[in-house]
């Protein structure tokens, strides 16, 4: 059992209970001189600790009525009568009433009670009635009852048995006593409570908060810093933290940098040229239909003149293969179509821009993690905006073997794969093309990405004469698997509560 920690209030209460054994809250209040609220609180704490029991029962409760309160304030009428009579020794009733300054009715009540109690006697002389003082007690049982009830209401059992009779009598006098039924809590000490040693109940001056004043004045030496119940729940605090999916992408970015990849950049509003044409996707390719790409309303076309050299060669490659050894797509290329402005629909647009950059490094390794846009209706598996992770490796003598080597590295380093699998695949801008699947114990096979060697019809018109390996990774599925979510919309979650509570993966 852990060491018993008692609040000063608990100590005081428990001390009282050790003395009384059992008591009402009122008795405890009287005993400890604490206020009602403090007593109630401390009793609850003792109860929770198993040091006291609380028993509820109903009981008759007596309190003063309006007349009774008046008696408490001004005294009983019969007492006033005997006081006045005491000064006069003996007096006629009319004189006595005059002295007392009360109404006929009040006087008759006072006289009636004084006689009934045997405090005065009356006798008639000379046609007049005189009152005579007999033995009067200092305080009557009735007066004691009123006095007690004036302090506070009392339960039946709290009333001195010797006063029961007087209470009975007072109850008959109108408006003096009021009786009600009330719930009483009786507190009793438990065995465990009795066993708490007295030294534990020593109340030293305890301080809850350590203040600057206590520290610098040295007063902290004289007080005891109260022990806290450290098991008690603390208020919830929400720290600032990264969005979990973005954090995942940050880590991915770090991995790619560690593998020697440099980040590429490119604009959101892009020319059709870099998004499709420069990638050797024919202009009437089904993937370029209006359903797959967002077009800009105004301006609908951009100025391609800064890239005219590349546009001419790409046009030739599409139409007849240019000097690439290809027969081309064999259609009439439209420069106006290439100049159309769209929202970037694939990260490969950045690769095309990187390849025409005069600062392109050979050998070079590049990556991008960028937002792409497609006019899909948003549902559990589709977003109209999503992030693509992809890149290129540009170097002499790259072959399919190296392509597989790079993919295997990604699968192991990024997806933590135990096994990898390569299968032939198709992408419009690579040949050969490979699908990468990663196997992870407990997760099974996951299609993790695709890659290929850019077609010569793509690289040569962009002025690159060495092989270029292009790769893309399906990291969203990897993240969803790790985070245990199955709805892609949650990548862009609107739920602040979820974000606050999400564990840091």
């Amino acid at each position: 059992m852990s060491e018993l920690v008692l609040h000063p209030l608990e100590k005081t209460l428990l001390k009282a209970l050790q003395k009384l054994g059992e008591a009402s809250l009122e008795q405890l209040r009287d005993e400890t001189q604490l206020d009602q609220a403090a007593v109630s609180r401390a009793v609850m704490w003792l109860y929770e600790k198993g040091l006291a029991t609380i028993e509820e029962h109903r009981t008759k409760t007596y309190s003063l009525g309006p007349e009774g309160r008046k008696f408490a304030l001004e005294g009983f009428p019969e007492r006033r009568l005997v006081e006045v009579l005491g000064r006069l020794e003996e007096a006629s009733l009319s004189k006595l009433r005059e002295e007392m300054g009360v109404s006929e009715e009040e006087f008759s009540i006072a006289l009636g009670w004084a006689r009934r109690l045997g405090w005065v006697s009356i006798e008639k002389r000379d046609g007049e009635t005189f009152a005579k003082l007999l033995t009067v007690p200092e305080i009557s049982p009735e007066e004691r009852v009123v006095k007690a009830l004036a302090e506070r209401e009392r339960a039946e059992h709290e009333i001195d048995p010797t006063l029961r009779d007087a209470l009975e009598k007072l109850s008959k006098r109108p408006g003096v006593i009021e009786v009600s039924e009330k719930v009483f809590r009786k507190v009793a000490i438990t065995e465990e409570g009795r066993r708490v040693p007295p030294q534990l109940l020593e109340v030293v001056e305890e301080v809850s908060r350590l203040t600057t004043d206590l520290i610098i004045t040295g007063k902290w030496r004289e007080v005891k810093l109260r022990r806290y119940d450290i098991q008690r729940p603390a208020p919830v605090v929400w720290p600032g933290k990264k969005q979990p999916y973005l954090k995942f992408l940050d880590e991915l970015r770090e991995r790619l940098v560690a593998l020697g990849f440099e980040e590429m950049r490119g604009p959101i509003v892009e020319y059709m040229f870099f998004n499709c044409d420069a990638l050797y996707m024919p202009q009437d390719h089904p993937a370029r239909e209006i359903h797959d790409i967002y077009y800009i309303k105004e301006p609908s076309m951009g100025d391609l003149s800064p890239y005219s050299e590349f546009v001419d060669r790409v046009k030739a490659a599409h139409e007849y293969g240019w000097t690439t050894g290809s027969r081309g797509w064999g259609y009439k290329f439209s420069v106006a179509e290439a100049a159309k402005l769209i929202l970037r629909s694939q990260g490969t647009a950045l690769s095309a821009r990187t390849l025409i950059n005069p600062d392109l490094k050979i050998p070079g390794k590049y990556f991008s993690i960028v937002r792409c846009f497609r006019p899909d209706v948003v549902d559990r598996t589709h977003l109209t905006e999503f992030n693509q992770v992809e890149g290129i490796v540009v170097a002499k003598d790259l072959t399919l073997k190296e392509l597989l080597g790079i993919l295997k590295t990604f699968a192991v380093e990024i997806a933590g794969a135990d096994k990898v699998r390569f299968r032939p695949d198709y992408f419009p801008f690579t040949e050969p093309s490979v699908e990468l699947a990663a196997y992870k114990e407990g997760y099974g096979w996951l299609e993790f990405g695709g890659a290929g060697i850019f077609r010569p019809e793509l690289t040569l018109p962009l002025g690159v004469e060495v092989p270029v390996i292009a790769w893309g990774l399906g990291v969203d599925r990897l993240f969803m698997m790790k985070a245990g979510i199955d709805d892609i919309r949650q990548l862009f979650t609107r739920d602040l509560d979820w974000l606050r509570k999400a564990e840091m993966l």
């Binding site: 800009i296 309303k297 951009g302 109209t384 490796v393 080597g405 050969p432 609107r494």
Partner: protein, 563 residues
């Protein structure tokens, strides 16, 4: 990517050898033709062909032809049986040159077809029309009952009201005009021809209508059934190569059912003039051992390369270090020797190629912009803000109306899919407020931020737009005032070593007198404000909200200048 439905037993019969019944193993086998099992229950098999440029694989017949090679049941070029009869003549009207110039026909005799084979042909026709035919604009296909047609065939133009016939799916004769107006296919594809004064029609020598290309076949001559044994195939279109390729693919697929092909001579009064179809002559190409090595990384002997190519159904012969390759006419995807080499690698087996990690020394790095963004995010997290991620696309309702701003000055897309995403946000504050509006039931105070992109219109830029990376943050809760946001902005800029000036402005989204422009080094870099209660009402938020957004590009510029 096209999916092809078939009966497994039919596939096995066409292959002529047993194929794996286990879905995993079958999937592996199909990977050699870039296809995979989508569904396999009982005898029903649905296969996805991943290569969008291989229509020769879009039928069970084509898949079987390729698998025979993979399984070495039959390798090398596929030989097709040709009829001894003279080619069918097809005459082309010179006026078609400007409208839909090309036609290619062929007849396949003696085909055994049942319901599923017929469905397969119709699906192939639909897929080719849609993809390779670019929605019938580039090419469209018609199949006819050859026995009902009396050659020669005439491809000509007629006026919309000159000719009428019963189109497929209808009981009564309609004029061409009415077909365009009333027939579902006329409504769907009418746009391809309707602006011309005369429209294409295909008739036989007796004047019977075969079809109205590229819209609809006749219900008499153009309704192929399981009773049909001799099929006439016709393709019209705007690109001769595509027309010819399509005919080759359809005719060879049908001929896989044991048919004999009779050619047609298509007499164009312009290029390509009189030309025989289907074109079954293989194209010749060459690859060298060295070239294969340079792409695949394998040092294969020419004979071995030739053998692998024969499995991929090429004709191939090793001659010294070269391999002379005959490309089947139906392989319309082969544009460059690299396409042939890929087939060498596939038939060799990707799982037999040893991956090699290239030893290329490069120094990895993230962009300057991303580095700065990371620094900014670190600072905001230090201030106790929760990072959020929102969409760059938005709607004028969110970025303007609800923010009490007039609708102007942002970039819209021409083809939105939903009203929620019709434009690009040019400021991030509406995204933050929208986010808070989804979380009014969540414990306050709420402190969120995002480092995200906005796109702003720029008149003199070649694309008319510029990306803007911004930091936006918002605080919501009882007792929250302008000062709370200012404290954070103060601290943020101080940590970046930047001093700033706060210029009072009027901005309808914010409470008057509680909004200011952040000016850093003379450049307007952002804004802080206490959100106008009407904006809060518009978004259904019941707590005060303060926001700040700062253009990180502008800050980077100023910092660069000061170095």
């Amino acid at each position: 990517m096209p999916t092809i439905e078939m009966s497994f037993s039919d596939l096995e019969r066409l292959v002529g050898a047993s194929i794996p019944k286990d879905a995993e193993e079958l999937d592996y086998l199909l990977s050699f033709i870039k296809a995979e099992v989508e569904e396999f229950t009982g005898d029903y098999l649905r296969v996805e062909v991943k290569d969008g440029n291989r229509p020769d694989l879009w039928t069970v017949e084509g898949i079987a032809r390729a698998l025979r090679g993979v399984l070495s049941v039959e390798t090398g070029l596929r030989e097709f049986k040709l009829s001894d009869q003279p080619p069918i003549e097809v005459f082309v009207d010179p006026a078609l040159k400007e409208i839909r110039p090309y036609i290619a026909c062929a007849v396949v005799y003696g085909v055994e077809i049942d319901e599923s084979v017929l469905v397969g042909f119709i699906r192939l026709q639909d897929k080719l029309d849609l993809t390779y035919g670019r929605g019938r604009k580039r090419t469209s296909i018609g199949l006819y009952v050859a026995d009902l047609i009396t050659p020669p065939i005439y491809y000509k133009l007629v006026g919309p009201d000159e000719v009428s016939f019963v189109p497929l799916g209808f009981d009564e004769e309609l004029t061409l005009r009415r077909i365009l107006e009333e027939h579902p296919k006329g409504i769907e594809y009418g746009h391809i021809i309707k602006d011309y004064p005369k429209w294409p029609i295909l008739m036989d020598s007796r004047g019977k209508v075969l079809s109205m290309p590229p819209i609809i076949n006749s219900a008499d001559l153009g309704r192929v059934t399981t009773e049909t044994r001799n099929i006439l195939v016709e393709v019209t279109g705007t690109n001769w190569t595509a027309v010819s390729n399509t005919l080759t693919i359809v005719a060879t697929s049908i001929a896989e059912r044991g048919g004999v092909i009779r050619k047609a001579v298509n007499k164009h009064p312009y290029e390509p003039r009189e030309i025989e179809t289907p074109q079954l002559q293989p194209n010749e190409s060459k690859v060298t051992k060295e070239y294969v090595k340079s792409v695949v990384g394998l040092d294969l002997e020419p004979a071995q390369i030739a053998e692998l190519l024969e499995k991929a159904r090429y004709g191939a012969k090793a001659v010294g270090d070269e391999i002379v390759v005959q490309i089947p006419a139906y392989r319309v995807d082969i544009m460059h020797p690299v396409d042939i080499v890929e087939d060498v690698a596939i038939m060799y087996g990707y799982d037999r190629i040893e991956p090699v990690v290239p030893q290329i020394m490069t120094i990895g790095d993230i962009s300057e912009e991303e580095k700065f963004a990371n620094l900014v995010r670190e600072i905001m997290i230090g201030f106790g803000f929760q990072e959020i991620l929102t969409f760059i696309m938005s709607s004028p309702e969110i970025i303007r109306d609800k923010m009490r701003l007039p609708r102007e000055g942002y970039i819209e897309v021409a083809n939105p899919r939903t009203l929620r995403f019709t434009c690009l946000r040019d400021w991030i504050t509406p995204s933050l407020i929208e986010f808070l509006s989804f979380n009014t039931h969540v414990e306050y105070p709420q402190k969120v931020f995002e480092v995200g992109y906005c796109v702003v219109p720029v008149k003199d830029s070649p694309t008319g737009a510029r990306d803007k990376r911004v930091l936006g943050f918002a605080i919501a809760g009882d007792q929250v005032t302008f000062t709370d946001a200012k404290s954070i902005a103060d601290g943020f800029l101080r940590l970046l070593g930047l001093s700033y000036e706060l210029r009072e402005i009027d901005y309808p989204s914010f409470i008057e007198g509680r909004v200011g422009k952040i000016v850093v080094g003379g450049v307007e870099a952002g804004m802080i404000g206490e959100v106008h209660p009407e904006v809060l009402n518009n978004f259904g938020i019941g707590k005060p909200v303060v926001v700040c957004e700062i253009d990180l590009g502008a800050l980077q510029e100023v910092k660069k200048r000061s170095i």
